[in-house]
């Protein structure tokens, strides 16, 4: 029974997926008899099977839906959008019950009378009662009739689902296999489920274009073809096979290396053959892991249709390149980001029909998905022809959230501004809808895509739409990697994150030998320069931050066999920026099989895995993103704020600066752009809650932090209000002095926490505070409010 149920669940889930697509297709083209026939067959199979498995709840829903479908199929009526909605609702109920079955093994309890009544009403209302009555028993009796002759069906191990689901008119002996023998001989079915006979993913995926094309008459042929060529195989088997092949490849590489040193002519020919076969085998096994990207798309038509109804928009989803293949593992990982982006396009990107008409566009908005291969990567484009991104709104939002200073924003290109939407918590949606707008979207998408070594970018034209481009590696299992050396150790860096290699000249060595004398660079050579011991590189008029691999891996100053080599800088893509990694030597690129590191090493974020090279040695795979995080080049809120602040500070332009007094000594300053509001709060309204100072501000509790030294005790407390992730934070100061417009050139770097440094503002030496630090004090990112806050209150 368990096996039967498991098989039923697998098949039903596939059928549900197909039904989703087919129903949406039917809505567009209610006359399409082939689609209708497919829908009827799928629903009928579900119903018939669950009758035999003893699933009455599921059967009742499926039965009611089938009644309606039966009427449609017989031409009694045409499918209206309302009817399709009802059928989709019924399908959702089926989905729910099937999910419950999968989780518990039994039908979940629930009341479906609403859905069933609605379906029955359609069946009765739209068709003459005299016709409706015969239809129901006829369809209901179909499995029973088929069960009379189960023999030809049950022993056929590879009959694909579609075949078994042929309409009873075409083939009376073709209900689902498990249903057929059940009444008389339950045993023969038991051995069958381990070799589930249904069509494999490839067929299911192509259902979008192919399914409607399968005419009932042509189906027998199609079934035979499919039946002879596909079997269902467990994913674990494929994974195991992949592991074995990976090891075979490594052994082959070792053998080849040995043979090269031995020069034994007897070995050469068979070894070459072995090598060839191994390569073919590897390719073949890789192919079994490949799935068309359409598999990740198959829920989208339904999603878009439902969204269009909910939002009152007309949306057409166009999909190109659904057959483009990529690794199963990657596919699973991009499914959710893709769904999210399509949802975003439908909700934010596309306008309502009236807006579109006003803009001179067709009422129907288009979302186009396009997938294609490009040099070891797969590119997925999600394009809409909607309103495009509103640059001014993004600018305003970026400024108000303190992500970037106004001066910095002014200097940015449109593309740079657009990329702010990938910033955590960034949403320009005027209102939060049920669909999106909560601002927890694109940054998650970006993070997920970067996690698998991909990248995302966008271009948007105001009024003409937005195109998101995702670039992802084809596979995660075998990647091309650059082998480098640091000290006496070798490491692999995935090729996908390497932008370029730069020969560093001898600047580093010279600088080390002669202390801080970095002036000894040779003409023409790119030399590493140092700022207070921190290496940087001038690369095409940009300053590239550098890390010394040997240093961050704590490999000491030992030099390996490559001593005397000129250090090379591997310029790596980390997030949207670049980072230079200084290595002692670069060997070559090699195809490596990524293996996860042992659990006890997982906490070392610098490594994304390890691998075995052709010579049999084990090496670690470096994760440039992990290195960036380790040295503090991150996408974190704080560093972004600090960078924005220092960007404003270093600029020559005049910016509005707020001067205030906090404690004795020089006045303090903060760029006005970082302050949301100035308030005078009556002292009695400052409360102490859980050891921290708070005040009720706009019906919410706002944490208050005293800037170092501030100790005003007047009747009101001047407060600078900062906005942080939608929450307000108040900085308590002694007095607000002035707002001046001046250059903010930080002359002395601050050593005290909370200060960026000292600048000459309005002719006086003024401490410039670091708002990021104070935000962190009040709203600690890690959630350890107490400790951080205590540290902050000590200043008060």
């Amino acid at each position: 029974m368990d096996d039967l149920l498991a098989e039923f669940l697998t098949e039903s889930n596939e059928a549900i997926g197909e039904l989703d697509l087919a129903l949406v297709a039917l809505e567009r083209n209610p006359q399409d008899r082939d689609t209708l026939a497919l829908i009827f067959r799928l629903m009928h199979t579900i119903k018939g099977t669950c009758g035999f498995l003893g699933l009455p709840r599921l059967e009742r829903v499926a039965h009611a839906a089938e009644n309606v479908l039966g009427l449609l199929r017989e031409g009694g009526m045409l499918a209206t959008p309302a009817m399709v909605t009802l059928l989709l609702a019924a399908l959702d109920r089926v989905k729910l019950i099937v999910a419950g079955l999968g989780a518990t093994g039994t039908e979940p309890a629930g009341d479906d009378s609403g859905v069933i009544a609605a379906l029955d009403a359609v069946a009765r209302g739209e068709a003459p009662p005299a016709d409706a009555a015969p239809v129901a028993p006829a369809t209901a009796s179909a499995p029973a009739a088929a069960a009379v002759e189960p023999a030809p069906v049950a022993p056929t191990p590879a009959a694909p689902r579609k075949g078994r689901a042929r309409p009873k008119a075409a083939a009376p002996a073709a209900p689902a296999a498990p249903t057929a023998p059940e009444p008389t001989t339950p045993e023969p079915t038991a051995p069958e489920p381990p070799r589930p006979p249904a069509a494999p993913v490839a067929v299911a995926a192509s259902a979008v274009p192919a399914a409607p094309a399968v005419a009932p008459g042509a189906e027998t042929v199609a079934v035979e073809v499919a039946g002879g060529h596909t079997i269902r195989v467990g994913v674990e088997v494929l994974e195991q096979l992949m592991t074995l092949v990976s090891e075979l490849v490594l052994s082959r590489n070792q053998l080849l290396q040995l043979a090269r040193s031995q020069e034994n002519p007897l070995l050469t020919a068979p070894l070459q053959r072995l090598s060839q076969i191994t390569s073919d085998l590897q390719e073949g096994v890789m192919k079994t892991r490949m799935q068309p990207i359409g598999n990740a798309w198959n829920k989208l038509p339904r999603l878009v249709r439902d969204l269009a109804r909910d939002l009152g928009k007309k949306i057409e989803l166009v999909m190109h390149g659904a057959e483009t293949e990529l690794d199963r593992q990657v596919l699973e990982l991009i499914r959710d980001p893709l769904t999210h982006m399509v949802r975003n396009s439908a909700d934010h990107g596309l306008e309502s029909p009236s807006e579109r008409r006003a803009a001179g566009k067709s009422e129907t908005g288009h979302i186009t998905l396009n997938a294609f291969h490009e040099g070891g990567h797969i590119i997925v484009e999600i394009a809409d022809d909607g309103r495009g991104l509103a640059l001014d709104r993004i600018r305003a939002k970026a400024a108000s959230r303190g992500i970037a200073g106004e001066a910095e924003l002014a200097a940015m290109t449109d593309a740079q501004i657009q990329r702010f939407i990938f910033h955590p918590g960034f949403s320009t949606a005027a209102e939060v809808t049920a669909v999106s707008g909560r601002g927890v979207g694109m940054d998650v998408v970006k993070t997920n895509i970067e996690k698998i070594g991909g990248s995302i970018d966008l271009r948007s034209t105001h009024g003409a739409g937005t195109v998101f481009t995702i670039k992802i590696p084809l596979t995660l299992a075998i990647v091309s990697a650059l082998i480098v050396a640091a000290g006496s150790e070798r490491f692999a860096i995935p090729q996908t994150s390497v932008v370029e290699l730069v020969r560093a000249g001898n600047g580093l060595n010279d600088a080390q030998a002669a202390g801080e004398d970095a002036g000894g660079e040779r003409a023409g050579a790119t030399a590493i320069e140092h700022i207070d011991g921190t290496p940087v590189l001038r690369l095409r008029e940009r300053l590239l931050p550098l890390v010394d691999l040997k240093q961050i891996l704590q490999l000491g100053t030992e030099t390996g066999d490559g001593s005397g080599d000129v250090p090379t800088i591997v310029v790596a893509q980390v997030g949207s920026g670049t980072l230079g990694i200084i290595v002692d030597r670069v060997f070559d690129t090699e195809e490596i099989v990524v293996k996860p590191v042992a659990p006890i090493l997982r906490q070392i974020s610098m490594f994304s895995g390890n691998t075995i090279l052709g010579d049999g040695s084990v090496i670690m795979i470096l994760d440039p993103n992990g290195i960036a995080r380790m040295v503090g080049i991150g996408t974190g809120e704080k560093s972004a704020t600090a960078a924005a602040a220092s960007g404003a500070a270093g600029s020559d332009e005049r910016v509005a600066i707020l001067l205030f007094q906090a404690g004795d000594g020089a006045p303090k300053a903060v760029p006005l752009a970082q302050i949301a509001r100035l308030e005078d709060i009556p002292r009695e309204r400052i409360e102490l809650s859980a050891g921290r100072l708070v005040t009720q501000y706009r019906d919410r509790l706002m944490p208050l932090v005293a800037i170092s030294g501030a100790a005003a005790d007047g009747p009101t407390q001047p407060v600078l209000v900062l906005n942080h992730r939608g929450r307000s934070v108040g900085l308590m100061v002694d007095a607000i002095l002035d707002v001046v417009s001046d250059r903010m050139q930080i002359e002395l770097s601050g050593e005290r926490s909370g200060l960026q440094g000292t600048a000459i503002i309005a002719g006086r030496a003024t401490d410039v505070i670091d708002t990021g630090y104070w935000l962190d004090c009040a709203v600690p990112a890690g959630g350890e409010d107490g400790s951080d806050f205590n540290a902050a209150t000590q200043f008060a």
């Binding site: 990976s246 090891e247 490594l250 052994s251 070792q254 150790e489 891996l553 704590q554 490999l555 293996k595 042992a598 659990p599 006890i600 090493l601 906490q603 070392i604 974020s605 610098m606 490594f607 390890n610 691998t611 075995i612 049999g616 040695s617 084990v618 090496i619 670690m620």
Partner: protein, 160 residues
């Protein structure tokens, strides 16, 4: 590459296996690990260092295409490092689907030990030993520390 010096006989009968140990030497001390926990015994191996790993981790090595994390028992038991260049051997064990190699000075033989000879750890045993030992076995001429593989692999602090 991987010279398998000794492999567990597959026909070990269950009855006496329960008290059979593979004996090994760490800094002169005779130790034993249950034979059932041992997959392979390896001769001296090339071990790749892993930067930033805890000091007990000697590195990783390649065992027939699988990556094995090597743990230096001298360092695990807080013993002085061995002489440079001296050949070392490893006992490979599996836990949670991962392979670990315990790097020791010498792997000797499989001994069948009567349970009656097993004594509890003396309370004065150094903490590093006590944390990994299941007891002491009195042999005719010397003492054998019965090590617990699970606790040997339970390495606490990991530097990030």
């Amino acid at each position: 590459m991987n010279d398998t010096v000794l492999e567990r006989p597959s026909d070990t009968s269950a009855s006496d296996a329960s008290c059979s140990v593979v004996t090994l030497t760490v800094a002169g001390q005779l130790c034993g690990v249950p034979v059932l926990g041992v997959r392979d015994v390896l001769a001296d191996q090339t071990i790749t260092r892993i930067p930033l790993a805890p000091p007990e981790i000697a590195g990783s090595l390649n065992l027939r295409g699988r990556i094995v994390t090597a743990i230096d028992l001298r360092r695990r038991l807080r013993l002085p490092p061995g002489e440079k260049g001296s050949a070392r051997m490893s006992v490979v064990t599996e836990q949670g689907g991962e392979l670990y190699a315990l790097v020791v000075d010498q792997v000797s033989e499989v001994l069948s030990l009567p349970a009656s000879r097993l004594e509890r750890n003396p309370p004065t045993l150094p903490a590093a030993w006590a944390a990994c030992s299941n007891g002491i076995v009195r042999l005719a001429d010397r003492l054998l520390v019965l090590l617990d593989i699970g606790r040997l692999l339970d390495i606490p602090a990991i530097r990030g």
